[in-house]
Symmetry: D3
Subunit: 132 residues, 6 copies
């Protein structure tokens, strides 16, 4: 079995189908993404990843759009093409406008720049930011 | 001059003081952070970094708290201790509660995990996410 | 000469051929991968990289399969598509089963998640882990 | 509450104590690490992270030592000082010798080097490694 | 508007055209790259990014070739395929020979390797390198 | 033996001493850095790393200062505190002025920013940059 094998619903075991069903119901979609069809090659990873994602991305102190923006910010910083594509789409679906997208990328770019300036200049922590 | 030299206001050139003044006025604080005192060693970088940050972090399509959450997400992913400390403080000041902090870290952790699962499984992009 | 130029055996200098011969003999294969054909553009890098890799990946305190699993873990974390593909193939050849692949990815994903939680929460080192 | 707040057992809620108890019992230790004491600030993250880690790091197709070596490899690549320290200790406990440690670091260093050579030379994927 | 939308000169607003004109004049080229045509989707990011890049990459204490080599080194380390391609081309144009390219990649690879050895061995800073 | 164990010259084996001698002679210094004293815990890694570094950092098509600037750029991007400190010192020794240091950091910061903008905007490669 290749690492790219996509398990389709009709070929899935009951255990995998149960996860697919929950994804489709929770997200109100009629198909699961390739991400889940690939993870199905290792059912414990499929189930655990979905359970975690479902819990973490549910509305809470942060709203779903904010969570998707954060997800995109991490994916861009790590340069994960699949996650950039899928979570940019999810952010759009959650309400991200073109203007928000532009500002998101600007903040991500700036943070990556100043992270390196802080490293390169070996900036000592201000007393106000210390924990001890 | 060491890369860690901190330029204090009283020792700063008029060019550097002008930037410090703008930072203090914009942020309504009485001191600039070590980050700026270090960048002052190279005035063009000080000025350009501040001008960019001021423009990018101003309220726009995204509110200041959301921008700070994104900034923290990037800094955590890059593991920049200075920026994690300073932007976590800035996010708190902008209204981040303990519950928001907890959810922010959970999303950041999850995104870093699934970014690697997507890489490792070499997941092919869904047609719905293609740009061409 | 483009950075993607592939030096085939028949066009290679004696110096490059000697490295190719050693790779093919050591690995019992009849062709070297594109990785080596590209590095051949800079013979000192070709030779040094092969000599180092041959020494490091030889059976020792860790067996070849364990070394390939570690190689994949690093390549996934860095998101290097070429190395993910070539070292996943090498790990399969060294005995990695589907179940091992699934557990490898799960550990890599989890480690990437907790690395960020440790950063984000700014967790102080336990005394038991200190070196000084 | 600071992000560095350590929740000690005697101050913990029943929900947090239940996780601490399971960690101590599973690992046969008398104290949980600072990592868990910090995550306790957000109980859902504490519980989910422990449940996932417990499942993933249990003996399976890969033995516990191999899993710890992989964990160290990722933590070194990401440069997470806390996780490098704690998982190097865990690997030692699981049987990592000095010689294994030396070979582990050598493989991690080499993989990081060739990951970049593959990127920089823009090496085209060999047909043998293609998935499609 | 998709995140991949390319704004061509003839469809650009006066604000965007002014940036394109400055890029073409400064670089003595007759077309701007896709990078700029994409950033045009968010004019403030287009303008600020170009203004910063123009200032930073201008000849100064470091010559343009050295700056392009540094740019490639960062892009390879981050594995940004677009920037590796565009800045390798820019470095070639600024005078990078095949031999320089080979040595650049060798240094980048070596630095990535020793960065990880330093992390993994948890090497304490020599007194001579301390700032405090 | 701890991973932080520093092997001093007087306690070193002949094999380790030979490497130390070569480092001191090549660099015209009277002591080796902690980096080498730590790697001495695994003599094959010590020898191989030094042999590679000596060959790669020797004057060639790129001069020693340029190579050190590239080394710093990578170390800052990876946020390796030890290597940032030691290679910034080496670059100073090789002739890096304050102005060069300032421009180096500015280029590194900018490259990290545009790497992420290229990722986030999913910019398609210009035909002129294609290799195939």
């Amino acid at each position: 079995m290749s690492s790219q094998h996509l398990t389709e619903y009709e070929d899935a075991s009951p255990e995998v189908r149960a996860v697919y069903d929950d994804i489709m119901q929770t997200r109100k979609v009629e198909q699961v993404n390739n991400f889940w069809k690939c993870l199905a090659a290792h059912p414990p990873t499929l189930r655990r990843t979905w359970d975690s994602l479902k819990e973490i991305m549910a509305p809470g102190a942060l709203d779903p759009l904010t969570k998707e923006l954060i997800y995109v910010a991490v994916s861009v910083t790590n340069n994960c093409p699949y996650c950039i594509a899928s979570h940019t789409a999810a952010a759009r679906k959650a309400g991200m406008t073109d203007a928000m997208f532009g500002e998101l990328q600007a903040v991500v770019g700036m943070a990556n720049e100043t992270n390196r300036l802080a490293n390169g200049y070996r900036i000592p922590l201000d007393d106000a930011f210390r924990l001890d």
